[in-house]
Symmetry: C2
Subunit: 136 residues, 2 copies
C-alpha cells in the first residue's frame, strides 16, 4: 500500500538520470529508458508531460532529446512526484470538493492529514541535485 505508482517511480528514475548529466547535455529518451530500466514509450509520455510544465526541455530532430528545465538544485522530489501523480493525498477523504461528505465527523481525517504533511515535507527537502550524487 501507499506505494508510489510506476509512473512516479519511472519519473524519478528518469529525472535523476537527467540530473546526472553534464549541464546542458541533451539525451535521448531511448538512452534514459535503457539506462534506468524503464519502458521507453511510457517514459516518453512522462517526459512529454514534464516538458509542458517546464520540468524538462525537449528538442526534436537530430541531436534532439531531453534535459532538465532548470538546475537540479531547484527541482525537488515533491515537484517530480506531484507533477506525475497530482498532489499528495493518501486518502480520498482529504481531497477538496465534496469527495467526502462524512469529512466533518471523520476521525480518520486528521491522521491522513499528518501523514500527508510528513511525506510532503520529506519529499520537498530532497532535490535532484542531492539524488544525483553517487553514493560512495
Amino acid at each position: 500500500m501507499m506505494e508510489l505508482t510506476r509512473k512516479g517511480e519511472y519519473a524519478i528514475r528518469g529525472m535523476v538520470y537527467l540530473a546526472r548529466q553534464p549541464a546542458g547535455k541533451v539525451v535521448l529518451v531511448s538512452e534514459v529508458a535503457e539506462a534506468t530500466g524503464v519502458p521507453q514509450t511510457f517514459l516518453a509520455k512522462i517526459f512529454q508531460s514534464f516538458a509542458k510544465i517546464g520540468l524538462v526541455n525537449s528538442f526534436r530532430g537530430t541531436g534532439g532529446g531531453f534535459l532538465l528545465g532548470r538546475h537540479p538544485s531547484r527541482i525537488t522530489l515533491l515537484q517530480v512526484v506531484e507533477a506525475v501523480e497530482g498532489s499528495i493525498n493518501p486518502n480520498r477523504c482529504l481531497t477538496g470538493e465534496g469527495s467526502c461528505e462524512r469529512a466533518p465527523e471523520c476521525t480518520v481525517h486528521p491522521v491522513w492529514q499528518r501523514i500527508q504533511g510528513e511525506i510532503a515535507a520529506i519529499l520537498d527537502s530532497v532535490t535532484l541535485e542531492h539524488l544525483a550524487k553517487e553514493k560512495k
Copy 2:
C-alpha cells in the same frame, strides 16, 4: 499519489464502524456497507480475509455477521492497512528479494525508507478505539 487504495479505505471505514458497536454486538456486512457507503460485496471480501487472520470474527446463519476479533484498543490503523494491502512500501525499490538490482547505488532509497518509517509510526500510533470516538 501515495494514495490509500479503495480496499484500504473501505477496510478502515468498516473496521471503525465495527469499533463503534457495543462490545460483543454482531452486525451484518449489509448494515456496515450501507452505513459506510462501501460496496457490500467488496466489503464482504475484505472482512472475509480479516476473519482468517483474526482481525474480525464471523458467524453464519440467522443472527450472524461480524464483530472485531479483539478489543479496539488492540487494533491499530497500521494493522488494518497492512492486512489489506501488505506491508507499507512506498517504493518498489524497498521491497526485499531482487526487486531492485540497483538498490546499492540508489540514492532515492533512503528517502523512501524515511517516509516508510514515518507513515508506519503514525499509523501504528492510532487504534480503532481512538477512531471510534465521535468528534465533538
